[in-house]
Symmetry: D2
Subunit: 139 residues, 4 copies
Amino acid sequence: MPKLGVGELQAILSQGFPDADVPHVEEVTDDAVIVSYSVTDRHGRPGGTLAGPVMMSLADTSAWIAIMSQIGPVVLAVTTSLHIDFLRKPQLTDLMAKTRLLKLGRRLAVVDVELYSRGETELVAKAQVTYSIPPSPAT
Amino acid sequence: MPKLGVGELQAILSQGFPDADVPHVEEVTDDAVIVSYSVTDRHGRPGGTLAGPVMMSLADTSAWIAIMSQIGPVVLAVTTSLHIDFLRKPQLTDLMAKTRLLKLGRRLAVVDVELYSRGETELVAKAQVTYSIPPSPAT
Amino acid sequence: MPKLGVGELQAILSQGFPDADVPHVEEVTDDAVIVSYSVTDRHGRPGGTLAGPVMMSLADTSAWIAIMSQIGPVVLAVTTSLHIDFLRKPQLTDLMAKTRLLKLGRRLAVVDVELYSRGETELVAKAQVTYSIPPSPAT
Amino acid sequence: MPKLGVGELQAILSQGFPDADVPHVEEVTDDAVIVSYSVTDRHGRPGGTLAGPVMMSLADTSAWIAIMSQIGPVVLAVTTSLHIDFLRKPQLTDLMAKTRLLKLGRRLAVVDVELYSRGETELVAKAQVTYSIPPSPAT
């Protein structure tokens, strides 16, 4: 069972990044979180597509949210590596991320992230993200 | 010899992203480009460090600049994959990228990118970025 | 519908690597192939686990098989990049690979590969593999 | 200064993999190790080139050797991730690996590995490899 739900995770995001337009936590289950990001014209790139960094940023953030949903508010977890393959031109519409926890160890967590445009089934990008989890203060 | 120099590459960046604070092309040689990004407080993250997406974005953009420096303004080249290892906490100062073209084929280019804080020698992150190069219109 | 089935793919493997112990193609569907590799004592590593290179090799080969199952015998397709996260110690038993074609373009194919020990549900490793597809001779 | 030299590292390799043809440790410095692997006909692949798995295996092993050269015989260190970009067709001659330690932390080490054919300057592949270092028994 998740330790944190939609509201708690959204609050962590909003407190951590008060001035930014943060992603929206849409769904939290035992296995996955679904996160969306509202795309506007200013995220565009020459060629009329969504910028790669927007996708990398959402992959990174949604992996962090997926880990916190299972182990609680480890806000100081840090990304140690991120690999992403860009597959198709996304539409200039909401970008969605669906995560899958591949490993949740004491020191490292590995998260698989699928990125797609809202309403579409084909993936626009796929990432594997590793986070280092700080030792818990109680130990 | 590079086909485009500092001024031409900076102009492409500024035209492509008119409203954003774009990186600065500092140096262009046969083998490398050096690009910097001015970091301000708003790029911070919980824990007082620079956000990972800022580093990924600079790795992606500097790889694109490195390719264009050698083959001209292929503004429609697209990233096909990016791998990054985060190594150390960067300082909240200018982030620097130094590129190395590992391969410049007709269809794919692979660029190695070192990221470091201005004035430091240790790397804060290291990326390998692949771009797909569109067929040239003349062919 | 797959263009090549279990028998045809197995024949390509056996002809391509006549002296090696090749993987076994176990299943071919529209979406996936399942490939197994018989692990013996000599694949072990200090610590009594399966060597990483055996897993990387099976990830690479099964991605190639997945692509050929859909587009026919492109034996000259070459791997352009491979990313793998190692998740758990595999057992010294058959290693299994299940593929998923993330993208099948004219020039590049990207394949997601799950690796697990036969009979287990948890993944031991997860890879994303990119192949470059040679232009077809007819074009 | 390296903790282990050419002879000690070679001995670890030979003891760990008694029946395999192990790589040769050619040089150990403060910053790098150079490792070679004797390529024979049986490593070939359809198309007359060196098999990708041979390159991945050497990248993995040489990263392990580079870490041990600095911190001693941590034979139980395990690879947590490996990313490799294949750049050019290697020749069917000795494959060389040159490493660079990007990070040597208490828990994780990240190693950059350049692969090239003996006598050539252009890289055939480039990898970034992460190892997890087990807690030292004394602590």
